[in-house]
């Protein structure tokens, strides 16, 4: 069942095209890895999928009853300022907000969910610490925990392992794989081609201005794009 369908999608900033003519489909339960060089438009594509950015042309269709309230998102950069007073727990809990509707407070179940996700990402001990005083990797884990709280049917991750130590990165991949096994669709941007090949069911390789490859991971390894990128 298609959850996201992109047709002839063209994205750009102020007339400058970044990606053009992109078409692909993501089905419920898929694990899609988006790879490509820096500046090839991966983050831009993710923002378009999240409707944070309107496409220059083309369409993005959602299906299977997917609404915004069931989306988890880990941004590559947060706009959060340097001096923002927020504890890790406050940040993680804010991921549960899309389950609240108009209810002004978090329910017990939502609070428990936030604690579990902090446990899973190994930041339970940091719950009361100030978010801005954590290391880059610790902040990344807090944002991942927040994304996990928000993910109902689908999770979009923009370079989730950037800034993590190897052990933490491996744990993160396992966590995401577990989530995917529970029927949550995963769309992940990554430069870690080995992990992409190991975990993903589909690969989208964005080249300079257009897609070089979209399809199953096994096919990607045989393709021209996959072989040249894998060697790098």
């Amino acid at each position: 069942m298609p959850q996201l369908t992109c047709r002839n999608l063209t994205l750009g900033y102020e007339g400058k095209t970044v990606v053009s003519n992109l078409s692909f489909t993501v089905n419920a339960g898929d694990y899609l890895c988006v790879v490509g060089e820096n500046g090839s438009g991966k983050s831009t594509l993710m923002k378009a999928l999240l409707k944070l950015k309107t496409p220059t042309s083309g369409q993005i269709q959602t299906g299977g009853g997917l609404t915004r309230k069931e989306i988890g998102y880990l941004p590559q950069h947060t706009a959060a300022q340097k001096d923002f007073p927020a504890s890790v727990r406050e940040v993680v809990r804010s991921g549960c907000l899309n389950r609240c509707g108009l209810r002004p407070f978090y329910s017990k179940a939502e609070k428990r969910m936030a604690e579990e996700n902090m446990e899973n990402t190994g930041i339970s001990k940091l719950a009361k610490r100030c978010y801005r005083e954590l290391s880059g990797g610790q902040q990344q884990r807090a944002l991942l925990a927040r994304a996990l709280c928000a993910a109902g049917k689908i999770i979009l991750l923009d370079e989730p392992v950037a800034g993590l130590d190897p052990a933490a990165a491996a744990e993160m991949y396992e966590l995401i794989a577990k989530l995917n096994a529970e029927a949550v669709t995963v769309i992940m941007i990554s430069h870690d081609i080995a992990a992409a090949v190991k975990y993903a069911s589909h690969i989208l390789h964005i080249g300079n201005k257009s897609a070089l490859f979209f399809g199953l991971t096994a096919d990607y390894l045989q393709s021209e794009a996959g072989r040249s990128y894998g060697r790098l």
Partner: protein, 283 residues
């Protein structure tokens, strides 16, 4: 000491003193609650701009001989707030700060012009000064004024409590909030309407030029010491109420202008919190 207490007690016999304290505390509470978000969103300058829009509106209301200047000032300021926060948000043709300066300066200029042309009052300079710096007017509040302020404040506090978590999310990371289904645009709009209401209420206490102090000082002071959003919000609310009450008391006892005394109390509190924060960080 007892003499001072007796003197204060005797002052509290007067209804106008009690009214001033109620309005002062409520205004301080509302402005500090929103101040945290405004400072964190880098929107603190908007309080300043809006107060000038409110000044213009109040001047025009005075020229039109409206009995209650709120009726014109509130809607005008709300519209100003919506326009300013939208242009501050990004994709506008005129940069946010330039648009802000343009709108607020014109509002102020037109307001003064209208007052000047139409005023029948013999003490024009005094009237203008009162609107700018918050005059003794807080000591001459009518019961209607107090009720209006109480109702507006109750609304502001209610909105803040009901949407506290959403306001946090939209302030902390607007993109994430929007992507996961919390309508960032709607909450920005709500925030701007509430901010406008606070500004109009606060005009009574400190006047147009000093409102920024009520918005900025409590939030910045609390951020020196506390590091979670909840603690900062609670602390800045307490800070603001204490400083405003102290300022009003001092101004009554010493006969100083209310607005500037309140601002001085806020500045003193900020220095104290700055020192505490410095010591805490050292240890």
């Amino acid at each position: 000491m007892t003499e001072l207490a007796n003197k204060l007690a005797s002052y509290f016999e007067f209804p106008f003193v009690r009214h001033a304290m109620i309005v002062g505390a409520l205004t301080a509470l509302c402005s500090s609650l929103l101040g945290v978000t405004l400072v964190l969103k880098r929107f603190s300058f908007i309080g300043d701009g809006l107060s000038r829009v409110a000044f213009g509106a109040i001047a025009i209301a005075a020229a039109m001989n409206l009995t209650n200047s709120y009726l014109l000032a509130l809607p005008t300021t709300v519209i100003g707030a919506v326009l300013l926060l939208r242009s501050g948000g990004g994709n506008a043709t005129i940069k946010g700060d330039a648009a802000l300066a343009m709108i607020s300066v014109s509002a102020m200029g037109v307001g003064y012009l209208v007052l000047n042309v139409s005023s029948t009052s013999s003490n024009l300079a005094g009237d203008v000064c009162a609107t700018l710096f918050g005059s003794v007017s807080i000591l001459t509040l009518t019961v209607t004024d107090v009720w209006l302020c109480a109702v507006l404040s109750a609304l502001v506090i209610l909105v803040f409590l009901l949407f506290y978590h959403k306001i946090f999310a939209v302030t902390f990371d607007e993109d994430f909030a929007a992507a996961t289904g919390t309508s960032a645009k709607a909450y920005n709009l709500l925030l701007s309407a509430v901010i406008a209401a606070v500004i109009v209420v606060a005009m009574n206490l400190v006047g147009a030029l000093l409102i920024s102090a009520l918005v900025i000082f409590p939030a910045l002071s609390a951020m020196r010491v506390f590091k979670s959003f909840k603690a900062v919000t609670v602390c800045s609310a307490c800070f603001s109420v204490v400083c405003a009450s102290a300022g009003i008391l001092v101004s009554i006892l010493a006969g100083t202008p209310v607005g500037s005394t309140v601002v001085a109390a806020n500045a003193a509190g900020f220095c104290a919190f700055g020192a505490v924060g410095f010591v805490l960080r050292r240890n």
